[in-house]
Amino acid sequence: MAERDELEVASVGYRLTHWLNLILFLALLITGLVLLEIEVFAYIIYPLGAPIATLLGLDPGTGAVTAGVQIARMLHRLVGPLWGFIIVVYVAYLLVSGRLETLRVLRKPVGQQLREALAIISHYLLGRELPEDVRKGLDRHNVLAVYITLLLAIGVVLVGFSGLAIAYLDLTPSLHRLMLLLHDIGFYLTVIFLIGHIFATFHPSNVILIKAIFGDGRVPLSWAREHMNVYVERVLAKR
């Protein structure tokens, strides 16, 4: 396909950040789940702790869990700030370079936003076609994606500052408790985003985006006109 028939939707920086997000968030998710609910998620950490317990001569059962969770906790404390740093740098870059596309959709009137959100929900859940005016008004990110991204933003801020406080500040027990609660709330919000994000990208109508984000970052222009018409017009006008 000729280059002019394609549109770049994910730059190299975007894809690199997405890879880093994927790996670091996965590490935080696994290590965090273990700390959150060991009775349910002990099996995740056992394979990591078992060899270390053997090396240290600890009990292969309880020692493996202890060693595994201790490693999980250390990784969580190291990976968390790293992930936070990457996000801060990336968001700062987007803001400075004027490439923050996500919030653009929120300039639409609220009624229009809700109509778009409902149309997309019924498209995803019931397979209904999008109304023509909604389809033509779609930007780089649709309203629903932006809403759950806002949820993510709140979640990341909560887990970020509470996590740093827990790991690196000498908190009183009551403050420590509060920070753990906020950390949990932030985590749950992030997981809600994650479920929505994975659902949307694996939906048959969006699967081309997965190929783009893990490939060359480009999508067919015809597909882009169907899914992000306003964005396409904006990009083409700049060319």
């Binding site: 609910e37 202890t66 027990p173």
Partner: protein, 282 residues
């Protein structure tokens, strides 16, 4: 792999602490420190007799002295003498060993064990020093040691399982502590209550399992001075919200994931059917 089982509500052991018998000699505090091999702490001046001033990784039992001014009138045959004095209420204090200990529920490695007798014990070899036990404890009992691990009263579970009483119980010269079965302790405490004493530990919040295994009783006067400072009427903290949230969020988000997968599966099935139909038409 990590499973927690609490003894039943009336199972296991308990201690009734009759504060009216306590003379504040601190023999229990010393016996605890000695039996458990805890090192002596540097003493510091404090405005009260309480020393150390709070529980510590090396002081699992501390006698807290609650002081309050008291005016007394002494009556003689020909005169009355009013004197102002200070009344002292000593409260020997340690982990209360909640019936369903929140600290044990919160420990991410299962390092806090609950013995069949109901003793809630931190296994130092398994503790990773995260402090979640202190976060969960409504009485702020576990304390971080210099090795980064958390420590607290073990109910002398090693002694109990050898047929002995806890060290503090055994050494008390005035029989403040009655170590017995939970069922019998409940009966004794109810009896003390019937005789007009205030009792703490039997009807508590569900967060601690409704009761604790160290049940305190004191006369109205002493209880009104000491209980509010030591024993919260509703022993729960923000960790209870965390627990409730966890109980909703983990199954809720799991269900949401399954629902999302099911919708995705249907969407893919419809997409393939549409594709094969359109291919068939051409």
């Amino acid at each position: 792999m990590v499973k927690l089982k609490f003894p039943g509500r009336d199972e296991g052991v308990a201690v009734v602490v009759d504060l009216d018998k306590c003379i504040g000699c601190r023999a229990c505090q010393i016996a605890c420190q000695e039996w458990n091999g805890r090192k002596a702490l540097n003493t510091t001046f404090s405005p009260t007799f309480t020393n150390p001033r709070d529980l510590h990784a090396d002081a699992w039992k501390v006698v807290f002295f609650h002081e309050f001014p008291l005016s007394k009138t002494l009556k003689f045959a020909e005169a009355e003498a009013a004197i102002n004095t200070v009344e002292v209420v000593p409260v020997p204090y340690n982990c209360l060993h909640c019936a369903e200990a929140p600290c044990a529920r919160a420990c991410p490695v299962g390092a806090i064990k609950v013995s069949p007798e109901g003793a809630v014990v931190i296994e130092p070899g398994e503790c990773i020093g995260c402090g979640y036990c202190l976060d969960a404890c409504p009485y702020n009992v576990p304390r971080r040691g210099s090795d980064g691990k958390y420590y607290k009263c073990t109910f002398c579970v090693d002694r109990i399982q050898s047929g002995l009483e806890p060290a503090c119980v055994e050494v008390c010269p005035t029989n403040v502590f009655t170590f017995t079965s939970m069922r019998e302790a409940t009966r004794i405490a109810e009896d003390l209550r019937a005789r007009g004493k205030k009792v703490y530990g039997l009807s508590l919040d569900g967060y601690v399992g409704g009761r604790v295994r160290w049940i305190f009783a004191a006369s109205e006067d002493k209880a009104s001075r000491a209980f509010p400072a030591m024993f919260p009427e509703t022993p729960r903290n923000s960790n209870a919200i965390r627990e409730s949230l966890e109980g909703i969020a983990i199954p809720g988000l799991s269900l949401a994931s399954v629902f999302a997968l099911a919708v995705l599966a249907v969407a893919w099935w419809r997409a393939r059917r549409t594709t094969s139909k359109s291919e068939g038409a051409t």
